[in-house]
């Protein structure tokens, strides 16, 4: 009998490992060969497919929200959306090349390093594929032939934050930069300074938050006239909160970007407000724009970027936002 024969033949362990390894990715992806058939779920409204290529590595919290937005848009609008991301500009440009050879109907790309992506985006545009840039690279978007840019203009967001901090009664502010050489962060602080007045930058490293906290604390202790702190990252915000507490300073704290901890601190009154650039929109909107471009030749923005921020989260709306932060969409 075949069964007995099978069961009595000892399977070499490596072969079992082999089979197991082969099976895992197939199971995880719903058995791979999903080129055309969509056996379950809603009928797609169209056979359009869009590719999102970001500069965020896998597991990055911010980009995960962008990804959720893009995927939800794909589901809502009945189009196929694939999301890829790589912080290495060469790999990012290769991912754009890949999308072009797949002949997708639209590409969404974030440009942290516009020069490195110029050629790949140029190829996409030359192939007649509409491109929308998101998040970074607003100033180069038009030059590269993109339909529009969806994001937050850092300078304007910084100005809004500075204005609001000033209105809350700040006299001297500290702007905490957490990544050396990131132009976007410099822009935020410059914008805040323009509206706030007396504002000083402090350089910390986002990958060492304990050290960031002690640096901020040292600064607050050495200059007690500082009565406002602006951080540009959710992790640094929490580090600054601890620093303010430890230094027994009365400084008001505001931050860019959200997470659960920041929301809790906003609710507790430890953080006055958070500037939210709404990454979910940076994923969702371009997909809907591309759909409308493909089906109705619409274009959005009129040559100007479409701003997803700055939105503000403070005590008044923290509860509502917290619910969505829990779901990973804010």
């Amino acid at each position: 009998m075949i069964f007995r024969k099978l069961s009595t033949t000892p399977i070499p362990p490596y072969r079992r490992l082999f089979a197991a390894l082969l099976v895992v990715p197939l199971v995880l992806t719903g058995c791979g060969g999903e080129d055309q058939d969509d056996s379950s779920g809603g009928e797609p409204a169209s056979d359009l497919s869009f590719a999102v290529v970001s500069h965020g590595g896998a597991g990055d919290k911010f980009w995960d929200v962008v990804k959720s937005g893009a995927e939800q848009a794909g589901e809502d609008l009945g189009v196929k959306v694939s999301y890829q991301g790589s912080g290495d500009p060469n790999q990012q440009s290769q991912l754009i090349d890949t999308a072009v050879s797949e002949k997708v109907d639209g590409i969404v790309v974030s440009m942290a390093n516009p020069d490195a992506l110029k050629e790949a985006i140029g190829k996409a545009v030359a192939a007649g594929i509409p491109v929308i840039t998101i998040n970074s690279g607003a100033e180069r978007s038009k030059e590269f032939g993109a339909l529009t840019h969806v994001g937050q203009t850092e300078r304007i967001a910084g100005e809004a934050a500075g204005e609001r901090l000033k209105a809350e009664g700040g006299g001297k502010a500290l702007c905490v930069i957490h990544e050396a050489g990131n132009v976007g962060l410099e822009d935020r602080c410059a914008g805040a300074k323009a509206k706030f007045g007396e504002l000083e930058n402090l350089q910390v490293n986002v990958s060492d938050l304990a050290d960031a906290s002690s640096k901020i604390k040292a600064k607050l202790q050495s200059d007690t006239s500082i009565d406002a702190v602006l951080t540009l990252n959710n992790g640094v915000a929490i580090a600054a909160r601890d620093a303010i507490r430890d230094a027994s300073s009365k400084a008001k704290l505001a931050t860019f970007d959200l997470d659960k901890d920041v929301l809790a601190a906003v609710k507790a009154g430890e953080i006055s407000f958070a500037v939210d650039q709404q990454p979910y929109l940076q994923g969702y909107l371009p997909i809907s724009f591309l759909l409308l471009y493909n089906t109705n030749a619409n274009s959005v923005g009129g040559g100007q970027p479409v701003l997803t921020g700055p939105g503000f989260v403070d005590k008044s709306n923290a509860d509502a936002v917290a619910e969505y932060a829990e779901k990973g969409t804010r």
């Binding site: 060969g33 050879s101 390093n113």
Partner: protein, 346 residues
Amino acid sequence: MTTAAPAADERVAPIGLLRRLLIRPELGAVVGAIAVFGFFASQSSVFRSIDGIANWLDPASTLGIMAVAIALLMIGGEFDLSAGVLTGTSGLALAMLTSEYGWNVWPAMLIGLALALTIGLFNGVMVVRTRLPSFIITLGSFLMLQGINLGVTKAVTGSVQISGIAEAPGYELARTIFASTVPFLGVQFRVAIFWWLAVTAVATWMLLRTRAGNWIFAVGGNEAAARSVGVPTARTKIALFMTTAFAAWLVGTILALRLTSVQANTGIGQEFIYIIAAVIGGCLLTGGYGSAIGAAIGAVIFGMADKGIVFAGWDSDWFKFFLGVMLVLATLTNHLVRRYAEEKRA
């Protein structure tokens, strides 16, 4: 027994060919590559199209240039963990001299080459003189270069990224040679692919047909024995480190000219990918065995998996997992084929 075959050695004529194929170190990689290709080709029609092939050969090419050099070094019994960051160092030197100091691209490239070769020389001399494991020596240079790349870039430009190579004089010609595309069968292929084929061909010829090739196998197989039969072991090893540095310069230059900008963190983490490609291609971690063609094919496997996962439309959150599975499967295939071959040989 006697056949009319013009083979040089008629004693192994009929089964000799199969045997000779089976004992080649790269055979396992070839089988693995066919398996990976077949797998993704069945998943995506774009992957198997000429357009798709041009697409996944691109990551394979820059990786392949490095993997071939690393394979030579590993056959010679050493590692180089600084090779990945060195691509960044060479690219940064080029970018800095052209965009910050207004140099012509060509002399800037030469300075980059001199810098890379000096670092290769340093690695080689340190390993030969101190007799410390190259793993440790080059780990040290890896960290030092990482610091230098960031520190110097920030000190000179105030930023972590240097752009503007495209405005430098001499850029157009350099780009044509190192970073353009070549039309073939109606599709644009990256010129890096041809560099990669050339590097592989030269390395293979050197390894199998020259005295230097014999020296490389000898120093990796048994250094003491090699020295006692008159192989210049120190010189061979230093030359191997400098060859790796040359490859790093070539790749760094290709990428810098292609992207027209270089980030200070370029190449970090790539060093292990090079080693993986060389091992998939049949190199032993202990040295003395391996092949340049194998390493080139190892790079192809990596390129196919890298882009095939995207073409197949799998969730990018799982990307690294899939990549890991592919690499384990390819290496396992390689291992099984080699063991089978060794049984045949016995």
